[in-house]
C-alpha cells in the first residue's frame, strides 16, 4: 500500500530572468513502512520537491499541474489553513537540510520539541514534556538533556534533536533532506543507524533526499533518480544499482568511489546540468549523453515501464542500456 503518490508534478519559479522550470514531470510512490531514496545533484529539483510536498514553497513558485496524494487525498488542493493544522508535521514532517543549525539558541531543546507537540495538538504541557523525554530516549539522548541549550550539544546531537522533532507527532511520512551532509563520517554512520532502526521499529515511511548514491544504497528499498527536474529512472534499489536502464544513472554509478572496491580510475559525466530557464526541448540529459541521437535532441522521452518489477526509465534507448 502506498502512503504517498506523486505523478506528473510540474512546478516553476518566477524569476527576473524568466521562469525556472525546476520540476518538470516528477513521479514516484512511497510504500508504507519503506524508504524511498530520491537522488539528484545540484539543480535536479530534489529540494523543490520536498518543499512542494510540505506545501512550503516560496511565493514565487507556481505548481502548474500534477498530483500529490497522501493516503488517497490530493494535497495540492488542500487550503493552507488545513495544511497547517492537520497535515504538516502531523502527517508529513521534514528533516530539512542544515536544520540542526536552525534550532533556537535561547530555548532549551526540550522546550523546542515540546512546542512542536503543543502547537499541533491539545496535549497538556506536563504530558507533552513526558512525551519529549520519551522521544529523547528514542533518538539516543539522555532525558536529562531536556534543559540543555543547542550550543551545549555537538552537531550529531543537534541532528538527533531535529529527528526527535520530526517524529514528535508520529507522522505517516518523514522527509529527510540531506540529513547528514554537514556531519563527519562516523557521526553520519550513527545518524544513519539511528534512522534505520527507528524506521523499522515504527514502521515509518521515509523519503531520503540526497546527492550521495552510497547513502541511498545503505538506506533505501526503492530509488528515484532525478535529473533536471525529472524522474529519469525509478525502481528497486537492487535494480537501480545492478540493472540501470538510464545513461545518467549508469554514469553516476561509475563516478561514485567505492571504498570496498579495488583502486581504479574514476570516470565523470562530461558537461554540466541543463539550463532550467531555457530547458532543452528533447531529453534533458541529451547534451551530456554519449548515446544521444537526433531523436533525443528533438523529442522528450516518456518515463516508460520496462516491464521489470515496476522499473521505469526515461530514455528512448533504455532497452540497449546496461552496466
Amino acid at each position: 500500500m502506498s502512503v504517498l503518490d506523486v505523478s506528473d508534478l510540474k512546478m516553476y519559479f518566477e524569476t527576473l530572468e524568466g521562469p525556472v522550470h525546476a520540476v518538470e514531470d516528477i513521479a514516484f510512490s512511497v510504500e508504507k513502512g519503506r524508504v524511498l531514496g530520491l537522488v539528484g545533484e545540484s539543480g535536479s529539483g530534489k529540494t523543490s520537491i520536498a518543499l512542494t510536498l510540505m506545501g512550503l514553497l516560496p511565493p514565487n513558485a507556481k505548481v502548474l499541474s500534477g498530483s500529490v496524494r497522501l493516503g488517497g487525498e490530493e494535497l495540492l488542493k488542500v487550503p493552507e489553513e488545513r495544511l497547517r493544522r492537520e497535515i504538516r508535521w502531523k502527517r508529513i514532517s521534514l528533516v530539512a537540510q542544515g536544520a540542526m543549525n536552525s534550532l533556537n539558541p535561547v530555548f532549551t531543546i526540550g522546550d523546542q520539541i515540546k512546542e512542536a507537540i503543543t502547537t499541533h495538538t491539545d496535549t497538556p504541557e506536563p504530558e507533552a514534556a513526558e512525551q519529549v523525554k520519551e522521544l529523547l530516549k528514542k533518538v539516543g539522548i539522555s532525558p536529562d538533556r531536556y534543559s540543555s541549550y543547542p550550543h551545549e550539544l555537538s552537531g550529531g546531537m543537534k541532528q538527533r534533536v531535529i529527528i526527535a522533532m520530526a517524529l514528535a507527532l508520529s507522522p505517516d511520512l518523514v522527509i529527510a533532506d540531506e540529513p547528514t551532509t554537514a556531519l563527519d563520517v562516523i557521526v553520519q554512520a550513527e545518524i544513519l543507524t539511528l534512522l534505520k532502526s527507528l524506521q523499522r521499529e515504527m514502521r515509518m515511511s521515509m523519503i531520503l533526499i540526497t546527492h550521495d548514491l552510497a547513502l541511498v544504497a545503505e538506506m533505501s528499498n526503492t530509488i528515484a533518480i532525478a535529473y533536471g527536474g525529472q524522474t529519469v529512472e525509478y525502481g528497486s534499489a537492487s535494480d537501480i544499482f545492478h540493472k540501470p536502464r538510464h545513461p545518467y544513472t549508469i554514469g553516476l554509478l561509475k563516478s561514485v568511489p567505492n571504498i570496498a572496491a579495488k583502486k581504479t580510475r574514476l570516470t565523470s559525466i562530461p558537461g554540466s546540468p541543463p539550463d532550467l530557464v531555457h530547458p532543452p526541448t528533447g531529453c534533458r540529459f541529451a547534451a551530456r549523453c554519449s548515446f544521444a541521437t537526433s531523436k533525443c535532441v528533438s523529442e522528450m522521452p516518456p518515463l516508460e515501464d520496462t516491464g521489470e518489477r515496476g522499473h521505469l526509465a526515461r530514455c528512448w534507448y533504455w532497452r540497449d542500456m546496461g552496466l
Binding site: 553520519q188 552510497a214 583502486k263 574514476l266 554540466s272
Partner: protein, 342 residues
C-alpha cells in the same frame, strides 16, 4: 616512482593561541589550540600523498604550514633536502613558484571579474622577476600550455571566457592551471572536489593523476573523503587531533587498516551497493577539542581496545610492515577483531 623525498617534515608543530572568551579575558589568560602536534613524514618525489581525517584533525593546518601560510611553532620543513622552516621573506618568495596550493572552493578562489587568461597569467605577473619572463608572447604561451595540461582545450577558446561561463569542474581546473603556470614541483590540493557534484569530480581528479604521470609532479591531497582518496592517492595518512594515526599505501590502508581509528572510519563509510556491507559504528562519540587533547594515546577515550597503558603512554608512529606505519600499542588485537566484524 623514485624514493627520494621531496618534502620532509620533522616534528612539525603548529599551536594557535586564542585570547577570546570571557574566562580568558577576565583572567588575562590564553587558550592553546594544538592544531598540529608534532608531525613527521616524507612525501616522495612524484607521489600523490593523501591526508584524510575528520573536521578539526589539523589536515588544513598541515597544508598551510608546509607552504608557510602559517608559521610553524616548532619542528622543521625540508624541501628537496633544504631546510625552509625559517627562510626569510625574499628567499621564500623565490621558492613560492615551486610550491603551489589549490583551494577547496573554485567559486571563491577565482576573481569573477577576470578572464581565464588573466586568472592564470596573474601569478606570472607577480613572479615575473623570478622567472625572467618578459614578453607578452611568452606569457601567452605559458598560459596556453597550462590550460592544455588541465584539458581545457582548445586553450584559445577558454582564455577569453569568464568564470561564470564555466562549470564547477572547469573552474577548479582553471585554479589548477593557475598553479601550474609557475612550473611547480609540488602542489597542495586542499579538498579540491568537495564543492563539486559527484558526476564531475573525476574530471578534476584525473587531471591530478595525469599531471603526476606526465610531469612527475608531487601532490599533497587533503580530503575528508577516504573512499575518494583511496582511488586517487598512492599513500594515505590518517590524522587524528593533530597527529598521524596511520600511514600506508592507499590500497593497503583501506583493505588492511591497523589503527582502531582508521578501522572506525572505514566501517562508517557507506558502500554504493545495496547488497554490500552496511555501516557500523566501531568507535562512538565525537572528536574532542584540540584545546584539551587526552593524555596518553589521544584516541583512547573513544577506543574499544584501550587499556591502562593507552591512558598514560602515547604510542609512537612506528613501522610495522613494509611502508606501513601505525601509532597504536595494540594494533594486532584491533586488526584481528576488525577482520572478524567487518
Amino acid at each position: 616512482m623514485s624514493s627520494e623525498a621531496l618534502i620532509s617534515l620533522v616534528n612539525l608543530t603548529k599551536h594557535f593561541e586564542s585570547k577570546q572568551g570571557l574566562k580568558n579575558t577576565l583572567l588575562r589568560k590564553k587558550t592553546i589550540i594544538r592544531a598540529l602536534d608534532g608531525v613527521s613524514f616524507e612525501i616522495k618525489k612524484g607521489e600523490i600523498f593523501g591526508v584524510a581525517g575528520e573536521s578539526g584533525c589539523g589536515k588544513t593546518t598541515l597544508g598551510r604550514t608546509i607552504i608557510r601560510l602559517a608559521e610553524p611553532t616548532a619542528g622543521s620543513i625540508f624541501y628537496g633536502g633544504r631546510d625552509i622552516t625559517h627562510l626569510d621573506k625574499s628567499s621564500m618568495r623565490s621558492l613560492r613558484p615551486k610550491i603551489q596550493i589549490v583551494f577547496q572552493d573554485p567559486y571563491e578562489s577565482i576573481n569573477p571579474r577576470m578572464s581565464v587568461f588573466e586568472v592564470v597569467a596573474e601569478g606570472l605577473g607577480i613572479n615575473r622577476r623570478v622567472l625572467g619572463m618578459k614578453r607578452q608572447e611568452q606569457v601567452r604561451e605559458a598560459v596556453k600550455r597550462s590550460l592544455e595540461l588541465v584539458q581545457l582545450t582548445p586553450p584559445e577558446q577558454f582564455m577569453v571566457r569568464y568564470p561564470h561561463e564555466l562549470s564547477g569542474g572547469q573552474r577548479q581546473r582553471v585554479a589548477i592551471a593557475r598553479a601550474l603556470v609557475l612550473e611547480p614541483d609540488f602542489i597542495i590540493a586542499d579538498e579540491p572536489v568537495s564543492m563539486l557534484d559527484a558526476s564531475i569530480r573525476a574530471e578534476v581528479l584525473n587531471v591530478v593523476t595525469d599531471l603526476r604521470d606526465k610531469l612527475g609532479l608531487t601532490f599533497l591531497f587533503i580530503t575528508h573523503d577516504l573512499a575518494l582518496s583511496k582511488h586517487v592517492t598512492d599513500r594515505l595518512g590518517i590524522m587524528y587531533l593533530g597527529k598521524f594515526a596511520e600511514i600506508a599505501p592507499s590500497e593497503e590502508l583501506t583493505s588492511k587498516p591497523l589503527h582502531p581509528y582508521t578501522q572506525a572510519l572505514i566501517a562508517a563509510i557507506p558502500v554504493p551497493d545495496p547488497d554490500g556491507k552496511k555501516v557500523k559504528v566501531l568507535a562512538g562519540g565525537e572528536v574532542p577539542s584540540a584545546i584539551a587533547i587526552p593524555s596518553g594515546c589521544r584516541f583512547h577515550p573513544r577506543c574499544p581496545f584501550a587499556k591502562e597503558l593507552c591512558k598514560t603512554q602515547e604510542p609512537e608512529l612506528r613501522q610495522v610492515e613494509q611502508e606501513h606505519y601505525v601509532a597504536c600499542h595494540y594494533y594486532q588485537e584491533a586488526y584481528d577483531s576488525f577482520k572478524t566484524t567487518v
